[in-house]
């Protein structure tokens, strides 16, 4: 079970690629969907590997993603995208 999860504010993303590149667990990839500005926001392609370290959040220049650790529970939700 994933120890962490990411939360993505897709409309803020400008697809710089920092989060995808520097996630230590390679959880993320740029999706094929578009946000309103025409960028490809990231999505969690391997959410089960997320540790919630929040390196993605630290890197993101647009404050569009952050990770957090999940409380230990078998029913914990995993990666999630928000259209805000």
């Amino acid at each position: 079970m994933a120890k962490g999860a990411v939360s993505i504010q897709v409309e803020r993303c400008k697809a710089c690629g920092f989060c995808v590149e520097f996630c230590p667990a390679k959880v993320l990839a740029l999706s094929s969907s578009f946000n309103a500005k025409g960028y490809h926001p990231p999505e969690a392609i391997a959410p089960e590997k997320c540790s919630g370290c929040d390196l993605c959040g630290l890197y993101c220049p647009d404050f569009a993603i952050h990770g957090h650790r999940l409380a230990a529970s078998p029913d914990s939700p995993t990666g999630d995208s928000h259209a805000c």
Binding site: L58, C60, P77
Partner: protein, 297 residues
Amino acid sequence: MTAAGGLPALESNPVEPFLRMDRMPHIWCPGCGIGTTVNCFIRALLDSGADRQNLTVVSGIGCTGRVAGYLRLDSFHTTHGRAIPFATGLKLANPKLNVVVYSGDGDLTAIGGNHLIHAARRNLDLKVICVNNLIYGMTGGQTAPTTPRDVITSTAPYGTFDANFNLPHLMDAAGAVYVARWTVYHVKQLARAMAEALSKKGFSFIEVISPCPTLYQRRNGQGDGLNALQHYKQVSVVRHGAPTQEVGIGRHGEIAVGKFVDRVRPDYQELRRAHLQESLGGRYADTLHLEECECPS
């Protein structure tokens, strides 16, 4: 903020309480590193336990100068090059304030250069975060004192040919008590350095090498912001305590990162008070906060 697929909404980004979310999105380009440095700064605020109410941020003019406007703190966007004098006034009039100067390489080292060296000389208790993208970004990519040789800029269309500043060396020589350099790739180390500076008394200077994809990178065939970070990762070498004359940056070659200077010497206010107490004895009126009105808190 609803979750997709019926999953419960996750907690909000912990940086948001420190940002003026009513001003988002910010003006910085895709792949610009300034926003990344802001995350590190907010992380440093949280980790250092800095008193948020007394934290003030002063910026000059330029892309990095816009940081003051996005942080939800008492913040000042001042005239070009004059963030440090303004910060000096804040700090001297109310020593309880923790005053951070957050500005760019052009603002701090060109037009602001004189103030930079004098503040370091005096060891004023200011924390200077110099986001160095090696260019004047906001105005369209002109040469800065930090632009390395053989770089195309809008005012050096045939390439730069003069030497650029070695900022850690300049700051070391001027008397700063804390001098460090990291790049936007080194997010954890940068946050740690900022936290150290926030807690350290005296003049601290942190240089952050950051990409300007739109102007510097694009005009010089260096790809985008991500390419820049990959490049920083590749060529950075941690050299804590290195002699600062050896850490200059060129267009190619190594970027020395780390903490170069961390020393102790009395800061301006300590010196002033001690000296006036000694000279004037009982006649010295020691006032710490120069506020005359009764203000509701």
